[in-house]
Amino acid sequence: MTAPADLRAPRPRDAADLRGAPASFDVRRVRRDFPILDQQVFGKPLVYLDNAATAQKPRAVLDALTRYYTQDNANIHRGLHQLSERATAAYEETRSKVRRFLNAASDTEIIFVRGTTEAINLVAQSCGRTRVGPGDEVLITAMEHHSNIVPWQMLCEEKGARLRVAPVGDDGELLTGEFEKLLGPRTRLVAVAHVSNALGTINPVKRLAEMAHRHGALVLLDGAQAAPHLGIDVRDLDCDFYALSGHKLFGPTGIGVLYGKESLLEAMPPWQGGGDMIASVTFEKTIYNRLPYKFEAGTPDIAGVIGLGAALDWLGSIDSTACRAHEDDVLAYATRTLAALPRVRLVGTAREKTGVLSFVIDGVHPHDIGTILDREGIAIRAGHHCAQPLMDRYGVPATARASFALYNMREEADALAAGVRRVLEVFR
């Protein structure tokens, strides 16, 4: 599967790869970096295809967490001692790594949060509450995750604003013409998934951002599913905010990132009050800290940040062009293999996809698919994928979702197909 021009851009970190040695990606070698993959479940080799829920962690991340807690653990930004200096340095180095990963202009544009959900809530509560008023509109799409729906619903309810929803087509592609029609002078904010968690659709977010900006709206991209698969260049996309989760990006749970354009973050009021986000406090008045600390109240997930840094370092050691080709190959192969089976219907067949294969089987509920595959050692997700409105759109209560990461192989797609054949046997 090929990507549109704006998505085919190489990740910033691998610009050199394109000019250098021929692309190479040895999936078996990559798998050796993930200790968890080497195990049996119900006597069968584990086939982990639930990566859109959370990805597994390379040993480098596990080692970084152990190293931090065994050697450097201290609170940051205030200790005068050696351990605090080391912890602070590792924490802030990760900020620079994230800045490079996203090609942001400045470290001050990188805010550490708990995850994508918290990043979106931060923007809704801080930026949204100052920019959205009665009669204004917030535009999302029909393929959003609940975490990119509910924060905007809450905001709209509070402000008397209106939530508009751009529809998707039968194949799972956003109807960009409809999206554009829904933009207007009242549109204050636009929030769109870069990649759909339930369908795998890659949205043409650069084009959508252009459209939104022509109407003066700010643009937030939910990058939770895109970050593990695509090169991200926030300056090229020209989005105003970009949110991602560390745990889907081979890092620890509990850590995520909000990127925001500096001028916008400067103008936004703090969201949470507490330690580290202040410059000085008296009972009369508090002076807030500068960016990015203004948005990082309280002791952060220091270990999580350092683990995320290790994940980005590990990703940086991978030839991302070759990796993307491998991922595209495995997804295309799995798609072909599954589509050839009787009674199987794919949900989400957009031209531009990554990572996700959602399907239903005629006469079999996805939970039963999930249970039977589990007994074959295959981990998938069965359910509504926190996208109930999207399930309604396709007239299904749920789907079975196999989601792939860079360490998955064609052999695992074969195992999935064999598991689905077993489902068809049980449910004749």
Partner: protein, 151 residues
């Protein structure tokens, strides 16, 4: 290696009720109804009843769910028809024991063909699927209009 077998879960009777659920639909003239949700997976079921003189004269269910939840609802409606409220509660308790082993193993003679659900016990994440309709029936009996949840 894998102790509980899939065949223990997906017994032929269960698959049959999944394919052809009995008493499926909405009962005209029902005087009790309740909705049940499993927020974990989005499964939902509506149970409609006609209760007269403390007896479950008729019962139907409607909803979407997995084979376990559908078959369980279907077989529940068959087992419950004609039961008094006390008998219904006793059967609920026996069914609960069958699936969880708590507080004690069930009296299998009281369960009749419902024992086909004994395999569910070995699949803990599926216990809620099997009990959704039963919790819904229970809340319909307790109150005229209720929403039951597995959580």
């Amino acid at each position: 290696m894998n102790a509980p077998d899939l065949g223990d879960l997906y017994q032929e009777t269960i698959l049959d009720h999944n394919r052809q659920p009995r008493n499926f639909g909405t009962l005209p003239g029902a005087n009790r109804t309740a909705e049940g949700f499993n927020p974990l997976c989005g499964d939902k079921v509506t149970v409609t009843l006609h209760v007269e003189d403390g007896v479950l004269k008729d019962i139907r269910f409607q909803g979407s769910g997995c084979a376990i939840s559908k078959a369980s609802a279907s077989m529940m409606t068959e087992s419950m028809k004609g039961k008094t409220r006390a008998e219904a509660e006793a059967l609920f308790q026996q069914f609960h024991r069958l699936l969880t082993g708590e507080p004690a193993p069930p009296d299998e003679s009281a369960l009749g063909k419902l024992v086909v659900f004994s395999g569910v016990k070995e699949f803990p994440v599926r216990v809620k699927c099997a009990t959704l309709a039963w919790h819904t029936l229970r809340s319909a009996l307790e109150n005229a209009h209720q929403v039951a949840s597995t959580e």
